[in-house]
Symmetry: C2
Subunit: 694 residues, 2 copies
């Protein structure tokens, strides 16, 4: 059985991809019988495609250059694996974006023609195309890698360097993910911030108003950022957690290593199969009373099957590993869910398990005294919200390490990350469902489909926001654990006997400080980019409102020049995504070669700590600002209401939070893993020395 695991997993991946394609066809069958909706859908799809192709053109240069360097420094296998990882990541992002742009308008139409259940099905299936693609491509890619790594035997015959190849695949996935997240994040937020600032704040017209020249760019951005960017991001996480476990296991004694190398693939297979069942269960669940419960239940079904399947596989001897390993998988899932609940507590309006959130009322209250106190409140909520998740992550590390004992402690930490990502097929579905429902609402608004339709899409959207919280918990928790596992993989690749990572060594502290600084640098770069691009957008939208007669008044037949705004976002995203990506790849190289491998180890640990904290801070501050604004709009804050000064202040806070939660924050999750995997690849060259150039 054991040696067949990669083949079975690859087969499951292929089947899942076919299912994804069928779902895509089904989504496309929903008819769009409204000309405006058809036009807008078309415009958004074209804009998104144009951006993605332009982005891929830039990235292909990067991939070729880095691939050549890898072939030269490591070996051709690593370079090929790198290409494969990059291409798989591109496909994951692309397929999701195709599905989402098709589903957006069709969800709106289904809401009009078939009511809530129909709209829920279309948007869910749109998300499922992405979820199943990400999981399927991941399984397929990893299985190919596993042929190299199979059973750990090749590791010793010297014919190739399987660790380096696996890391190469991960590096391909991670680097594309970082560019996609940063590029997509800058695109969407430049458009969003620009459109909101002039539209909502200055001109006083509603969100998604068709008079606003930035609205199409904003909608395109939602797809290239929140969907394609997120797809590449989750693909990277999924692949990264599996690879980290495999590389650690590859270092175990010959004989036992094989099973441990293959376990993450087996679990990936089980989780993916469970996810497919979870996705299909929606057909039965969608007609229930509570769509939120339906969404939640699809993930619960998948998780339960995943856990049961994992325990069963080990118990039945399908694979020869310690039974306790599965406890760390379950622990990982639980920690992920808890982090999600904490996120909900700090960023949500509704009580979490009966505990009334205080953060949003606090920010709402502070909005009454203006944008400055709103900003101070949002920033402090974001900072405070980092602590419990960090403690939870620590408990996860502690528990997994205990379950693993002396021998398998670090391996179990990687397996805890797998616990968060094993059912990625369905969790990603729910994640991707959110932006689809959101954009459906935007399209309904722009094409005047009426109050009833908007009410349905609004309900679906607000559910998406809550489910997204759990998704974020999984994303951040798994990033921390995966980065830690990759760090362990790095130390294994260098050789524990050679390394000296004592915190009392000044060179380790130096690495720690520099590594700690890098997330601040990348956060700053991405925020500056959004700020600049949004500034350009503001100038352009203001110009159009001033120079195009009748636009602001809504005169019949007067249309804004959306294309110019799309161009501004596209150019800014392509120009600005390069810097952060280069920093992430070059920084470990420079530190590794000048200060040596101990400093590089310190760098990874430092970036892990501040990266996780800054990612939590920025994501939660952004989420809290967003919901504080909504809380005012929905009348949750006494003495404040839509259109008053407190609301204006809250809009400003929300705008500051936009790049926090959708550009900089998510980039940091990828950054820390990308740097770790670059380090693992470098370790694979055997050319790193203790002292570097010192």
């Amino acid at each position: 059985m054991m040696e067949n695991i990669p083949m079975i997993a690859a087969g499951a991946g292929l089947v899942g991809l076919v299912i994804a394609f069928v779902l895509y066809q089904q989504v496309n069958k929903v008819k769009i019988d409204n000309e405006v909706v058809a036009d807008i859908t078309d415009e958004i799809q074209k804009g998104a495609m144009a951006f993605l192709f332009a982005e891929y053109k830039v990235l292909s240069i990067f991939v070729v250059v880095v691939g050549a360097v890898l072939a030269w420094l490591n070996d051709v296998d690593t370079a090929i694996a790198f290409f494969a990882g990059a291409i798989a990541s591109v496909l994951a992002g692309f397929s999701g974006m195709r599905a989402a742009t098709s589903a957006n308008g069709r969800t709106a139409m289904a809401a009009k023609n078939e009511g809530r259940a129909g709209a829920l099905a279309v948007s869910y299936n749109g998300g499922a195309v992405m979820g199943l693609s990400v999981g399927g491509l991941g399984l397929l890619g990893i299985s190919i890698i596993a042929f190299w790594l199979s059973a750990g035997e090749t590791a010793t015959d010297g014919s190739m360097n399987p660790v380096s190849a696996a890391a190469g695949f991960g590096m391909g996935a991670s680097s594309i993910a970082l560019f996609a997240r940063v590029g997509g994040g800058i695109y969407t937020k430049a458009a969003d911030v620009g459109a909101d600032l002039v539209g909502k704040v200055e001109a006083g017209i509603p969100e998604d108003d068709p008079r606003n020249p930035g609205v199409i760019a904003d909608n395109v951005g939602d797809n290239v950022g929140d969907v394609a960017g997120m797809g590449a991001d989750i693909f990277e996480s999924f692949v990264g957690s599996i690879i980290a476990a495999m590389i650690i296991a590859n270092d175990f004694e010959v004989g036992t290593a094989g099973d441990y190398v293959l376990l993450p693939i087996l679990l990936g297979f089980i989780g993916y199969t469970a996810s497919i069942i979870g996705v299909f269960s929606m057909s039965f669940l969608k007609n229930g009373k509570d769509p939120a419960a339906a969404l939640r239940n699809t993930t619960f079904i998948a998780a339960a099957l995943f856990w049961a399947g994992g325990y069963l596989a080990i118990q039945q001897g399908l694979i020869n590993v310690e039974y306790g390993i599965m406890h760390s998988v379950v622990l990982g899932s639980i920690i992920g869910i808890l982090i999600g609940l904490v996120t909900e507590y700090y960023t949500g309006i509704e009580p979490v398990f009966g505990i009334k959130p205080k953060a949003i009322p606090h920010i709402g209250e502070m909005s009454k005294t203006g944008p400055a106190t709103n900003a101070i409140a949002g920033l402090s909520v974001g900072m405070m919200s980092t602590f419990i998740p960090v403690v939870l992550i620590s408990l996860g590390i502690l528990g997994a390490n205990e379950f693993g004992g002396e021998k398998y402690g670090l391996y179990c930490i990687a397996m805890a990350a797998m616990g968060m990502l094993g059912t990625v097929g369905v969790t990603m579905t729910v994640d991707a469902y959110g932006p689809v429902a959101d954009n459906a609402g935007g399209i309904a608004e722009m094409s005047g489909l009426g109050e009833d339709v908007r009410a349905i899409t609004d309900e679906l959207d607000s559910i998406g926001n809550t489910t997204a919280a759990v998704g974020k918990g999984f994303a951040i928790g798994s990033a921390a654990l995966t980065a830690l596992a990759l760090f362990a993989a790095y130390t294994a690749a260098i050789g524990a006997d050679k390394l000296n990572l004592e915190l009392t060594e000044p060179i380790v502290v130096i690495g720690l400080l520099i590594g700690g600084g890098l997330p601040f640098v990348v956060a700053a770069m991405t925020m500056t980019s959004v700020g600049k691009a949004a500034g350009d957008m503001v100038v352009e939208i203001r110009r159009q409102f001033k120079e195009i007669p009748g636009l602001l008044e809504g005169k019949e037949g007067v249309k804004p020049d959306s294309q110019t705004c799309v161009d501004i976002s596209t150019k800014a995203a392509l120009r600005e995504m390069v810097g952060p990506g280069v920093v992430a790849i070059v920084a470990p190289v420079i530190v590794g070669y000048t200060l040596g491998f101990n400093a590089l180890g310190g760098l990874l640990a430092g970036s892990l700590v501040t990266g996780v904290l800054m990612a939590l801070f920025m994501a939660n501050a952004g989420g809290a600002w967003d919901n504080a604004k909504k809380a005012i709009e929905q009348g949750h804050i006494d003495g404040a209401k839509k259109g008053d000064e407190a609301h204006d202040a809250a809009i400003i806070g929300d705008t500051v939070g936009d790049p926090f939660k959708d550009t900089s924050g998510p980039s940091l999750n990828i950054l820390i893993k990308l740097m770790s995997i670059v380090a693992v690849v470098m370790a694979g060259t055997g050319k790193l020395s203790e002292k570097g150039l010192l």
Copy 2:
């Protein structure tokens, strides 16, 4: 000679305190021949004294409780040393505050009656009272500790625990410093933010307008926060760097240890003497053309004498230590100056060594598109500004470690911190001069002393802002190096053979993550406090403008109710300062006793990394926002000017920056050292175990 060093140093400290007292008398001799100035000076002094006494009352409870715990867990010596450190810190803050509140109004009067040179002399002397008090009290206290530690011999006779006693003194100084910084910071920023938001933004009246009920509280706050808080802060730094070096040296071989234990005291003595000479050189320099150059030159004279004196003392055999140690002292000074210049580059308007700053123009530009883009720009400038300083600190660690070699590497890192703090007598003078000049301007405005006076105080104030940048560089750089040295002291106290601080140990990573999170928690707590208190202040000031007839119109004889605003700030500061202080002291205790001494080591390293980064981020973002607003006011930003929308946006950014730069940021510098020193004290009990309660 050697055994007399503590005595000589104590003598110098006493002489310096006498000089400080004479300078204080001189400042008081300047006549206040304007009734309004006299009234305001009186009101500010009373308010500041009232607050400080209320604060000390709260702190005395804390000091007694913690002292009792120390007497019980460690020994009575540690408790006594803790009391001494706390009392010395209180005296340092108090004396500075007395001098500053006297000098504020008198500087304004001197500007009117004697012109610029006179005003410069009074404000400089006001600062010098503080500088010499801080240095003198530090030398005196440390010298007493040195009798215990003398020559390292007592360390082995078992009669007492000198490490624990030295750490106790440091802990007293650090804990008072944290409370003073946080309390003073909340006081001043609640008043400042509240007064600005209603006064400048809503009512459109100028800063420091006597109609504004919050102006007196704001002025009181400047003294209790920027002066008394800063005094306690710098005192803590000075003492901390000396103690760290002494504790490390105490672990050297018996026989050589003594000289290394005494070297920091000798250098403290030399630096203090050099500082006194530097302060006196102002009498000759003040009549020169360029007051900025005069200020700078007083510090240069002191630094040159300090370096020369240090080299000479070693070369002449006054103390028997490696000559190379002095290189690290000089390196530390240079690194401190470079960090200061980088700070100036990121937060200043004027070119730094011919390099034109880009950050302020960027924020200014972004202000044109509103407060949201201004906030995004300020935050990203702050984040970006962390990197070069972190690299410089790393270079300092690397260089000092090289100068020290195998044996004295960590010691030399502590000595590099001494390089930044040795001439604290004069650098603190220049630091304290800034707020005095600033407040003189405020008093001149409130009492209508006229344009000419205001022009002089404005010039002196703007010089203060630049010199403050270098002071900040020293504060942050020395905090990082001192915390690292205290970390080394902690490892020495536990015993390097027992500790396992490898980054591959999960428990160390857990400590790293939790420690990394604490600066975020403390930053969040302090910002929330400022936000809340400022919110209360806004409500009160709005009420007064609405309910007191004729106040806003400036009707003759109508006065605001300043006392209520003073009360709001006082109560908020006292209530809110407790939390962060408790976190700082309790967190290492909990982690140490539950997770063991390896996790505690990780905690210290984690808090060091994020604490330094967050302190840099917050201080520089705040400084940049402040100066971006000033740049618009002074016409440096094309297309923006005082009173337009860009300026309004910049004021909002400046307000967000207020708690960043004056409350949360500086608190973090103290936090990381306080936690380290608590850990050293805990290590001294010998009760920490490897596993804790696990």
